[in-house]
């Protein structure tokens, strides 16, 4: 039998149009998945609020400072800066600091002021240090204006010092953001791959005039857009928690995009191994949780044991964390984070290659 097929004039649409419709469809299905929205957009902010409250809120406590002997510099302290009390000698003062009964001990020997501060309560110790440091600077200025230019200048020596005086929100925000980027990338990609294996959507789309490449490109674009949305929301929460954004904060955009690409590649590898959704989630957890802990996402890496610090060099999340820390919090210029950008790009390239080589395309 031969019935003439109807005459057709329809030409395949341009690739860009197919790409845009796929982004719309995938974006819409992402937005309607409440668990995704919670997991990616809300959870990191919740974590930040929670951890900042645990580590100490912005309304920092008045540090308890022990004055060992005479410390003339403290005479210039504003009332309320410190809760001052005297100590008999340095040893008993240090013991009190070690026990957490005091946050810092101060000794002045001529022009040298030495601060011993608590590491058990890092926040209060750091606050004490910061204020004492400010005090010494003030004294210097006062001395300089009163006396001759060559007048003795007080010098602050800190012991057992971490020289950063970061507020909790300042070191937590970049870390938790890096972790958030990691979980949305890894879980998102692994889950998507498992879904595709099950529903064969990619197979169906391969048979449309749009190519599989266009579809995969659209899916990656949606992930990148989600990461940017996630970053913006998270930073808004961080600002509400007292974070001051540096002028270079916008350079978080390339860092976040690069980090997302890298974590997507990890997710693709895991999704290739996993057979089911829960399997993919389990594997993703197995990778992201340890990575977060060795990358200084939830506590300053300097406070971690040496071996953790060595191990962290292997964790790509660490470089995202440090890069974000530098541009968002410390106000370093993009040039200063070029090493992080380079390392992230290298990780992304290697992981993408591994994903490409290990992936069984037949399963899709």
């Amino acid at each position: 039998m031969s019935v003439a097929a109807p005459e057709r004039t329809g030409a395949p649409p341009r690739r860009s149009r197919a790409y845009l419709s796929l982004i719309r469809a995938l974006g819409l299905s992402w937005l309607r998945d409440r668990s995704q929205v919670f997991f990616n957009l809300i959870l990191p902010g919740m974590f930040l609020v929670l951890l900042v409250s645990v580590y100490g809120s912005n309304a920092t406590p008045t540090p308890e400072v022990l004055e060992v002997g005479e410390v003339p510099v403290l005479e210039r302290a504003e009332p309320g800066d410190f809760e001052l009390s005297g100590a008999a000698d340095l040893d008993s003062a240090l013991e009190a600091v070690a026990d957490g009964d005091a946050d810092a001990a101060v000794v002045q020997d001529g022009e040298t002021v030495t601060v011993y501060y608590s590491q058990t309560d890092a926040t209060a110790g750091v606050v004490a240090l910061e204020r004492l440091s400010g005090l010494v600077d003030d004294v210097n200025v006062a001395v300089l204006t009163e006396a001759a230019p060559d007048a003795p200048v007080l010098e602050l020596v800190t012991d057992a010092a971490e020289d950063n005086s970061l507020q909790p929100v300042q070191y937590l925000a970049p870390g938790i953001l890096a972790w958030g980027i990691a979980i949305s990338g890894v879980f998102g990609a692994a889950g998507t791959i498992v879904d595709w294996k099950r529903d064969k959507l990619i197979r169906r789309l391969r048979l449309t005039p749009a190519s599989a490449g266009t579809f995969v490109g659209a899916r990656i674009t949606v992930s990148l857009l989600v990461a940017l949305l996630q970053t913006a929301l998270f930073l808004a929460v961080a600002v509400a928690m007292g974070l001051r954004l540096s002028a270079w904060t916008w350079f978080a955009v390339p860092l976040v995009l690069l980090g997302t690409a890298m974590f997507l590649a990890i997710g693709v590898v895991l999704g290739g191994i996993a057979k089911t959704g829960p399997g993919a989630a389990g594997l993703s957890n197995m990778v992201t949780m340890p990575m977060a802990f060795i990358s200084g996402a939830f506590f300053p890496l300097a406070a971690a044991p040496q071996w953790v610090q060595w191990l962290s060099a292997l964790s790509p999340m660490r470089y995202l964390n440090e890069g974000l820390q530098k541009v968002v919090v410390s106000g370093a210029s993009p040039a200063a984070v070029l090493p992080e950008v380079g390392i992230l790009a290298a990780f992304a390239a290697v992981l993408a290659l591994i994903a490409w080589k290990t992936f069984k395309f037949d399963e899709l």
Partner: protein
Amino acid sequence: MEAAIEVTDLQKTYRGRKTGEVRAVDGVSFRVEAGEFFGILGPNGAGKTTTLEIVEGLRRPDGGEVRLLGRSPWPHSPELSQRIGVQLQTSSFFEFLTAREQIETFAELYGAGRRRAAEMLDQVGLGDKAATRCQKLSGGQQQRLSLACALVGDPELVFLDEPTAALDPQARRNLWDLMRGINAEGRTVVLTTHYMEEAEALCDRVAIMDSGRILAVGSPAELIRGLDAPTRVTVAAGQLSEARVKELARDEAVAADESSVVFETREPRRLLTALAADGALEGLAVRTANLEDVFLQVTGREWRE
């Protein structure tokens, strides 16, 4: 006239760690004319889906050649895909999208507009389900939506891979009507199925497939006629004397038990006229050979669904 599909000596072997080598497709050749409704009939695991996937261009054969509307389906070509509509065995939808959003997305991929999408939704009877999320549709509704997505690009050639599997009889009949309509619009249709009656009811020609090979090709009527099988005529027992049964059977086979008498005859008209004259038509059943018998003959084993 150029054939819609021309397949020559396809070969595909799967190598699994546990299963070893499986020759899923083993020297398959067939030809489908433009406008034809062509069926590939066979039990599960016969190689139907693999054959279809190779023809569609989803898989590369180890050997052999496929011409689809005069071109090779591999590698992917947007121009060729534009002329083809596909329904896969599993309904593949974007999660969390409604039926309307689903078909509109597919319409855009084929360069068709929203009006065409809405028309297709109506044509498959899902106009009132447009705002329902795909995953909430029933099995039959999902298959119809999937069919609408296959047709939204106005294809010349449509592949349907077991569209009625796992549907209840009502939903199956419903889909049959739709499939007949698609073919009546002038589209070439290739259907795989493991339902004999489906192939018999819908297809102009059927290829019977088993263990990766095509064992017979022809129209259902041709294949059955080729069997030269007798017609089985059954009537309730007790209406005919033993002598009369023997007389009516002449020299052909007959079997009787306490409930029924079964004649196997090549002269059904003579037998039925005589039975009617005797007034012995109670419990009458006439069964001619069907594709099941063809399958039995070409494979040497019983059909199992």
